[in-house]
């Protein structure tokens, strides 16, 4: 199995190369460069030229491309042009925040997806099934930013029970006990987590429903029922475990969507994560930060897929990687 994971990791190298090359090309096609951030009516053109010289922006594109690739290969993300700080340091400040949000939205997506999917499958063609099908279609079709704004309107303005931005209470956090601080952080995760996870949950539910329906028609389920097992045991132990495999595949496929979706949700909820870092970097054409962020995203997706492979073998002991 170790050999399998090593092979998968090695396969990630050309993937990373492809992502970085594409990112570099897109940046080259965009007008201007990071030196534009230094331009204002009071700035001498000589200074702008010296900024370009300092950061190598005056070099031909192919030279910069190979320098960037070489640095990335050696683990050096370089320095942010506009922040003058190591890119690794800047990413390290925001990555944990994005991971927290991704974890919560993944939980929301998987938990609600599974519950709704199971409920629909065991009550197939019932009113509950129809109601949930309409509900999931509603959330599946809804743009994340609109859902985010509606959630804010209901929970932050009409009822005012949940915070609408930031990771902590900007005013009171410094005066809370550690337990209160933990609760405060959890409260701030609810709305962005739900806004990001709900559309995924709707998709997962539809997927889970068909997977469960497939399984509960199998002979071994009939056998389990025939030998007198209670229904919850039939569903929970025999059917669910077998229906989970496609859901795990979906989990691996969902990861890239999760990270790309975080950009908008982080913006609306003022969440200081990598999504906003990338937006700011794109606006200022801070190439080292953009390249570094996409490198990390790609790596996260690769690792996420490896983890879902690992979960396969846990859920179904018959699966062995070679």
């Amino acid at each position: 199995m170790i050999g399998y994971f090593i092979r998968k990791l090695l396969l990630a190298v050309p993937l990373l190369w492809g992502v970085l090359t594409l990112t570099f090309l897109l940046l080259e096609l965009a007008p201007g460069d990071a030196s534009d951030a230094f331009i204002n009516p009071d700035m001498s053109p000589d200074v702008v030229a010296s900024v370009r010289l300092k950061w190598g922006l005056d070099r031909p594109a192919h030279e910069r491309y190979f320098i960037d690739l070489k640095n990335m290969a050696s683990g050096d993300f370089g320095r942010s042009i506009t922040l003058e700080r190591p890119v690794a340091e800047v990413i390290a400040e925001t990555l944990p925040n994005t991971l927290q949000l991704a974890a919560v939205s993944l939980f929301v997506s998987q938990f609600f997806g599974l519950c709704v999917g199971i409920a629909q499958s065991i009550r197939q063609y019932s009113r509950l099934d129809s109601a949930l099908a309409i509900g999931t279609l509603f959330f599946y079709s809804m743009p994340a930013f609109w859902l985010a704004l509606m959630l804010q309107l209901v929970f932050c303005l009409y009822w005012n029970v949940l915070p609408s931005s930031g990771m902590v209470d900007a005013v009171m956090y410094d005066y809370m006990t550690p337990t209160q601080q933990l609760l405060d952080r959890c409260k701030h995760l609810v709305l962005p987590g739900v806004a990001m996870g709900l559309a995924g949950a709707a998709g997962d539910a539809r997927f889970m429903r068909s997977a469960m329906l497939e399984v509960i028609r199998q002979d071994y389920i009939r056998t389990a029922r025939a030998k007198g097992l209670p229904e919850w045991k039939v569903i929970g132990k025999h059917a669910l475990r077998n229906a989970l495999l496609p859901a795990i595949t979906l989990l691996g496929l969902n990861l890239p969507l999760l990270f790309s979706g975080s950009v908008l949700v982080e913006y609306i909820f003022g969440w200081p994560g990598m999504g906003r870092l990338i937006i700011n970097a794109i606006m200022t054409e801070d190439a080292p930060v953009i390249m570094g962020c996409f490198f990390v995203y790609t790596l996260l997706v690769v690792v996420g897929n490896l983890l879902s492979d690992l979960v396969y073998s846990v859920v179904d002991p018959r699966i062995r990687f070679s």
């Binding site: 007008p31 303005l157 990771m167 005013v171 410094d174």
Partner: protein, 578 residues
């Protein structure tokens, strides 16, 4: 373009030391100072980035720097900027007006206990002058003699010498800055080329003003608390316990938090939302800041294709005068005719007028000098009337007629058709573009609209790669028309040139006495308006919403939240006890 308020920032202490630990009390007020209570939460769309004055650029940077640093001088605005002493106790001009001697207070210290001295003052200018720093404030030095910018006379006295005397307020604006701490930054270990990455700029600033940065969580919040080491005037000791800048990029979220009380202040409130706040939230007060921002249509007077070709083939430094005129907007009479076809009053009525109260938050623009500069702004200028029939007649006189009856004007087989670019993401400008398009259609001009991503839009303006552009500008409060209209100015996007305008600018800018220079500016505006390099549209007022429990607020054209040390809350209205 303009230095409005002071601010500097410093290091010295690590971020860990600077942070308020949970549960720890906020430092007590200075002995003999006022009782500090409550917190002000300000919603800001962007985080601060650079807290050293010499590299700072954004409004968020300026707000924090102003709060945490004493500037040499403090500005006030009443028809023009005037300066009062702050860190500078006094100053004198020489008889010929070409040098200024500044005497600094001797009782101000940095947060780490080191005194603020003339060496810090001089060092600040040394950093600005150093090309390695790439400071955006180089313009401050352009009139100063290199060996006296400034010359240190003693620990608390410096002398600035200028090449020539010019507008005294502008001269003082180049002196009234916040300082950077020489004792921290002038050491072999500090790389000036990487100053933006230094802790003192990027994570842990060092204060010498009434506030200090207690917590800075990037892209989330900045918490200011009274600086316990502040040794400046007692009148500057804060009355609030904390000021919190909460970073919320999304406008709708900022507005929602203002409504539910999570934040106390936000600026740039839209007119429709101001109506809603006024109707539903008696606890929120609305303030108008004055005319700072301007929307206009820019007519490119040169041919973009020829300009690019000459740039590609000719030696660097191609002059607009070497380039073919624009086939439409190179003609002054065409620009004037089109200006008559645009209904500015309707734009103001539709975009900048309250539909509930009828209150108007815009006024017609006639130039780039803000109406707030009374006297300098030409109040008597007669605008070109909105008159589509006259516009058609003028264009017909120039040969543009609807010869084939298709509804569009043409001349020699060419239809009067062009594209106006604008930046995407600005709803007001997008609506304005559609109204202008409709106005021009009424006179037979086919204008297409192209919305561009902001960087691309700016790049096209700089490269003069456009025919017409709908753009916005923030006006300076010190008169500097050369930035827009001087022949080779970076921001003269229309490549406009008129020797009379150059002469007026030179005369106005070299006149030390503001009152004597004042009559020059209306003439300048009239001359430029007659040429119509811009179709000047409207000035906009910025609406600031603030919770009414705050007293002694300073919300004006200089800043939506100035002199935070004087803001206070009556004891019976305190919201946050901590």
């Amino acid at each position: 373009m303009l230095f409005l308020f002071g601010g500097s920032a410093l290091p010295g202490c690590s971020g860990e030391e600077a942070a308020v630990k949970p549960g720890n009390p906020v430092p007590a007020a200075q002995e003999g100072g006022p009782l500090q209570r409550d917190a002000l939460v300000i919603a800001t769309p962007v985080d601060a980035k650079d807290l050293l004055y010499v590299v700072s650029q954004t409004a968020s940077d300026s707000a924090i720097i102003e709060a945490t640093s004493m500037s040499a001088m403090d500005g006030d605005f009443d028809c023009k900027i005037t300066y009062q002493p702050e860190l500078a106790a006094s100053w004198q001009f020489s008889e010929d007006g070409k040098s200024i001697t500044v005497h600094l207070r001797d009782d101000v210290t940095w947060e780490d206990g080191q005194p603020v001295t003339a060496d810090d003052y001089k060092f600040t200018y040394d950093l600005v002058a150093d090309p390695a720093v790439a400071s955006p404030r180089l313009d401050m030095l352009s009139h100063m003699l290199p060996d006296a910018r400034p010359r240190v006379i003693d620990a608390h006295t410096v002398e600035f010498q200028f090449k020539e005397a010019y507008d005294r307020t502008t001269m003082l604006s180049h002196l009234g800055i916040p300082f950077v701490p020489k004792h921290v930054l002038d050491s072999p270990g500090v790389d000036r080329a990487s100053l933006r990455g230094h802790a003192i700029n990027a994570t842990a600033p060092l204060a010498n003003g009434p506030w200090r940065v207690a917590t800075w969580e990037k892209n989330a919040r900045i918490v200011l608390e009274p600086n316990p080491k502040f040794t400046g005037p007692k009148s500057m000791i804060p009355k609030l316990k904390r000021v919190i800048f909460k970073v919320i990029p999304e406008y709708a979220t900022r507005l929602l938090e203002l409504e539910n009380g999570s934040v106390d202040l936000m600026d740039q409130v839209l007119v429709a939302d101001a109506d809603k706040l006024a109707a539903e939230h008696p606890e929120i007060q609305l303030h108008r800041r004055g005319w700072r921002t301007l929307d206009s249509v820019l007519w490119n007077t040169i041919d973009p294709v020829d300009y690019k070709a000459k740039l590609d083939t000719a030696k660097p430094g191609v002059k607009p005068s070497d380039v073919k005129p624009n086939h439409l907007f190179g003609d002054r009479e065409v620009r004037r005719a089109l200006a008559s076809a645009v209904d500015v009053d309707k734009l103001i009525k539709d975009l900048l007028t309250s539909q509930v109260t009828g209150e108007v938050y815009g006024r017609p623009a006639i130039g780039t000098i803000t109406p707030a500069l009374c006297g300098a702004h030409n109040d008597n200028l007669q605008r070109l009337p909105f008159d589509p029939a006259s516009a058609r007649t003028q264009l017909a006189a120039l040969g543009w007629t609807d010869s084939n009856g298709d509804g569009w004007l043409d001349k020699g087989g060419e239809v009067m058709r062009f594209t106006m670019i604008t930046n995407a993401g600005n709803q007001r400008r997008a609506k304005a573009a559609v109204i202008i398009q409709s106005n021009l259609k009424d006179v037979g001009v086919d204008m297409q609209i192209e919305q561009l991503e902001s960087n691309t839009f700016f790049e096209r303006l700089r490269a003069r790669d456009y025919d017409a552009a709908l753009s916005g500008f923030a006006a300076g409060l010190l008169i500097d028309p050369g930035a827009f209209w001087a022949p080779n100015a970076e921001f003269n996007f229309t490549s406009y040139r008129n020797p009379k305008v150059d002469d007026l600018i030179a005369r106005g800018m070299s006149e030390p006495d503001y009152e004597k220079a004042k009559p020059i500016w209306p003439e300048l505006q009239q001359t430029i308006y007659d040429d119509q390099p811009f179709a000047f549209l409207y000035w906009m007022d910025d609406i600031v919403a603030v919770n009414s429990r705050f007293q002694n607020t300073a919300i004006d054209i200089l800043s939506p939240y100035r002199r935070l040390y004087q803001w206070s809350v009556p004891v019976d209205k305190v919201k946050y006890q901590q």
